[in-house]
Amino acid sequence: MAIVDYTATELLERMDSRDLTSRDITAAYLAQIETHHGEVNALVRWDAEGAMRTAEAIDSRRELGEPVGLLAGVPVVVKDNLCTSRHVTSCASRMLANYCSPYDATVIERLKAADAVILGKGNMDEFAMGASTETSAFGPTHNPWKLGHIPGGSSGGSAAAVAASMAPVSLGSDTGGSIRQPSAHCGVVGLKPTYGRVSRYGLIAFGSSLDCIGPMGRTAEDVARVMSVLAGNDPKDATSIAGPVPRYEMSCREPLDGVRLGVIDEQFGEGLDDEVASKVEMAIREFEGLGATVTNISLPHIRYAIAAYYIIAPSEASSNLARFDGAHYGYRAEDIPLDEQDGPLVAMYRKTRREGFGEEVKRRIMLGTYSLSAGYYDAYYLRALKIRRLIAQDFADAYKNVDFLIGPVTPTPAFEIGEKMEDPLAMYLGDSYTVGANLAGLPALSLPCGHTAEGLPVAVQLQGPALSEEGLLQLACAFQQESDWHLMRPELTKAE
């Protein structure tokens, strides 16, 4: 088996037994990136020298018998909306194409403290707005399983990097499904944690009340290990949750006895692709085989989730993205036309934002600005907040009767690149099954459970009540011990 085929857990075992060094491992992943970057475009930039230096430093510490962190020597790719004090953090936008953050996001500090080797930054939809990684200013990422197809989004680069063996694990962010949906399309495990379980400090905000950072990897165990590093209270994030953090990688192999699963009725109706439906149903039967009891559950307000989400997320985004105006940092337009009415400052804002943002970002800023405007606020934003509360109540009611919910992640397998770029509404409907967890602030996990006839991955979504990440990972781990979808690798073109 090649180095890049090992899981993070296996790599750590081999480093501990001195069969491999982080240097060997990092070099292998960098070689994989160099070889297949042209096909996949999973990373927007990487730092081979820096990664090798870090790997060597960790190797020598391990050699000297010094204590090392939970991810010592393991390469990681992080989404390009996570601020890193080295190199550019661009959000895949022209607006920040040369922006260097002066500080590390809290999750980056935690990865560094755990001695991870950060390889580079994952491609994404611009400012995390999209479900296909096609809105990136650096070009689309290609699905490693079928290069003409999208990898999902917005964390498409992070998902594709794991699927294409360019990193054993990666970090994404999930505002309406942006970890789970690309994980599903790329056949990897992705966890969206409970809101506040992982600090958002240093995550360039999209929808602040929805945004969550989470891990992606081939196995639930790897994801659990990264989660142990990421999770925990952060005094720099006022919405961060206090309280002890489990060692997820230690608990995830424990058996879950007598689990009650609820199948979400509303997610098996119109719009769900037959092939996806049958794979998800097979997965549900497999869980039954593992001892789970399965009942049907209704979330009566979930059908309004997309409508509420596409008011709340753009509203917050319209405010969060106001700071990108050319005045302080980032892109600034040149040759500002003289504007008689508004003066030079407003003219500069206009041209900068027109040129610096892509179409989808501008569309959402306008949606959000409209929803928050006087006269529309009550009819749109306020009603969306009410629906949000009702949906949270639906979940709370459901978890009185079942331990976890199960259903599809996406209505269809990955579509072709370009297929939905002219139809934003169709693209938004792809988030139907995932946005509920964001609106309710609850954890959810995407677990590979099969391939379509065309060879595209399909995944099942497991959702749980607040702070049930341990249970979700145990379920996923139990499933993976009985299945081998996570062992399959896409066939990339050989290096020429």
Partner: protein
Amino acid sequence: MNDSLPYTTIIGLEVHVQLATRSKLFCRCENRYGADPNTLTCPVCAGLPGALPVMNRSAYELSVRAAVGLNCEIPLFTKWDRKNYFYADLPKGFQTSQFDLPLSQHGYLDISDPKGEFSDKRIGIIRAHLEEDAGKSLHDEAAGKADSRIDLNRCGTPLLEIVSEPDLRSPEEVGIYLSDLKLLLEYLRISDCNMQEGSLRVDANINLHLPVDGELKATPIVEVKNMNSFRAVQRALAYEAVRQYEQWQESGRCLGDPGVTKETRGWDDDAGVSRSQRSKEESSDYRYFPEPDLPPVVITEAEVEAHRLALGELPAALRTRLVAEYQLPEGDADVLVNQGRPLVDYFFSLAGAIDDGKIASNWIQQDVMRYLSEVGVTIDDYPVAAEQLGSLIADVLAKKLSTSRGREVLAQMVSSGETPQAAMQSLGIVEVDSAATEQLCRELLEANPKVVADIKEGKMKAVGALVGQAKQRNPNVQPQEVRDLCLRLAGEM
């Protein structure tokens, strides 16, 4: 009041006060005026991507203290909202403020005019809420094309916005309201209220009510900004009242007429005029919505009550006490209280030492306060302790030395830091015993028979010449003693 005017002036104020916290509202940067530009900034207050705010609880507690002092209701739950607008000194593109659930509301401030020109009055406080200050744009006004410079040091400074009801009826009332409000905030140690440094800023909303054919008409409301001193506020409002009356006479336009919008005018203190800045119709819709990065703030009844109990004696109560317990005239009480609590405490010590409030007040106003204003220091830096000054005044009261000599001794004490005794010694002041004074008087009477004759004829003023001569021969004599003695001895002659 102002009965002669054909209109009533209606004024409400929005006062912004920078809180005297050590650090800023949402980050740990130092909250300080006057540092080099952009040296007191971090990713949070500079609005860098990914940075998140964390509330400085002490700013909230300070605001609650102020609100309790303004007799406001304190809701047990309050939240933050974003006020969205674009400006170069607002790096996030929104100001974190409070919209529909402010930390306090429905309060009042009782004001009274020390000159007694209008009766005591209760000014309603609609709300007091907390928000973050913006940075400062420094425009190069010489050339239109020159770059503007931005200083973000002020970004994130906690600001308490205190909104009054439109209860004020004249620029004079506004002046009293502002000085009473400032005094209260200083007593509560909320802010240094320094208008020059921008830690207290005032915007005013003003219009006129006019009785026309038995019906009350109102002129359009104008917001006046850019007033940099209390004096400027009063001048601007006096100007604006006249301007609105003239405009109304000309156009007859009233509040609520079609096409009438709220105008904002900027005051130019040098020119003594205001200029239209923009009408509210063109101004932005702020698109307020709840700040998702900050959890709501909660406080308990018991905590609010603790703030109430910790308020201490406020200026109004202090004035009343000075009048009632120390028999001070209201004017004296007002002057002392307006100097701030430390000076009042000095007064208490001094009045206690000499057992006379009025005399203590006289000495403080005539001698202590003059020194403080000349040197530009506060009572904390006054070199003479109240006990020392008390001992000096006691000597004056015991007629051991004259008031004017007492002043000389005090000046010596201030400059040298000496005790009254040492200062008197330095000045060569020794007590003249009564035998020596009598001897001196007898000599003077004998040398001035004309004066003695005048006195005998009842021209008592003539004795003044002898007092003058006595002071020349011995500066330490007590003039009053010399006067009394000469009159008695002349009568006996």
